[in-house]
Amino acid sequence: MNNNVLIKIEGKNVNNYIKWLIKNRINILDLKVISCNELNALIDYKYYNLLTKYSKTYKISIIKKYGKLRLLDTIKDNLIMLSCTIFAVIFLYWLSNYIFSVDIIYNDKKIVNLVSKELQKYDIKKYSKKKNNIELNNVKKQILKDNQDVLEWLEIEEDGTKYIVRLVERKKASSVKENLYQSIAASKDAIITSINAYSGEKVKKVNEYVKKDEVIINGILTKADNTNIYTKATGNVYGEVWYKVSIEYPLYYYEELFTGKSKKTIALAFLNKKLSLFPYRKYKQFKSKSYILFENNLIPIKIIKERIYEVKLKENIYTPEEAVTKAKTEAVKKIKDQNSKIKGIKTIEVINKENLNSKIKIDLFISVIEDISKIINIAEEINFNSLHS
């Protein structure tokens, strides 16, 4: 950065002054003779002191400064304002590291107070210092762990100098109401395969077809004199239920499983080829992700940063028959996962099969043995009868 100054020289005969400048080999960047008594010259600041020392008969004054000198002058003139601005910025930044408000968004005061106390334990309160993300996550986990019977989910969001806490209360499962009197009916259409009645009257037999909601073990026992005895029927009923399932299965199966192992390396890429700068033991099967560190439009060479992940490939080509077998297994697995009451699979029949080039589509008819017990409360009947007797 240059340090030039534009000076005005006033005196009797400026031409003599120019001769003096030439004699002393003072570099002049620009010279303008205004009149015989006045001239303006642009010189390096280092010569200015020399001029003022020895030019006693001439009056020298600075008109304008350039470069670093000008910058320093500007700073000096505005020193107070600049220093106040810098101080204000630093102060604001310092303040922004503190919490000024903690808002817990929930409609239950008890839960809000509980969470507020928990947060204060970990120094998350007004006028305390803000926490970083790792600390916040740890606080969240600890609060949820200590209050797992009350809190289902907790989130602490940072919004400037405010912490917004959102939560979800854990809803306790309502206890199962015990019935005084009950019957057991069919939950679905089925053919009964077995009935285990511990109490109550069996009104259906094995291998009998029942429709949904038909009573199988009755809690109302009728005496010879047509009076009713009410009891709590208990037991299990298993029946054969049928499902129709439609499933598509691919004939070519390809899966990439990441083992979790990875390596980082830096490589040179030239057109399609890569050359690693640091040798490493390669994985048998791998996938890579690369980021360009340096590239140039003129040279087809790039420096790239690569992350190499080890993968295990699972590849299978199935015949249509194999695909049908796999599809049947898959369908059974899905049915069992969706319905925990299924005890076993009785038969699987293929109703329809369609070959769609890369996959097959099959319709299956599956019959299963399933727990079809359904409890029906018979308490209302008793109240109705007693009111009208």
Partner: protein, 79 residues
Amino acid sequence: MKKIDKLDRYLYDREYKIIIKDNMVNIINYGEIIDFSLTKITIKRDNKLIVLTGKNLTINKMMDEELLITGIINTICIN
């Protein structure tokens, strides 16, 4: 020493030049200013004298190795 001279010439421009433009003369590696006035400027370089005559001659720029003279230049003599 020839090689050093070659290197020196390669790195630094020691060549003496006079560039004449409209109402100005630029002299590079000028040497020394002997005389200066509004109508005549005399410059010495090695054994040569360069005399510029004209009207309102001013030294517009004067650096260690470069000189710019402006004004109405009538003659330039190299002796």
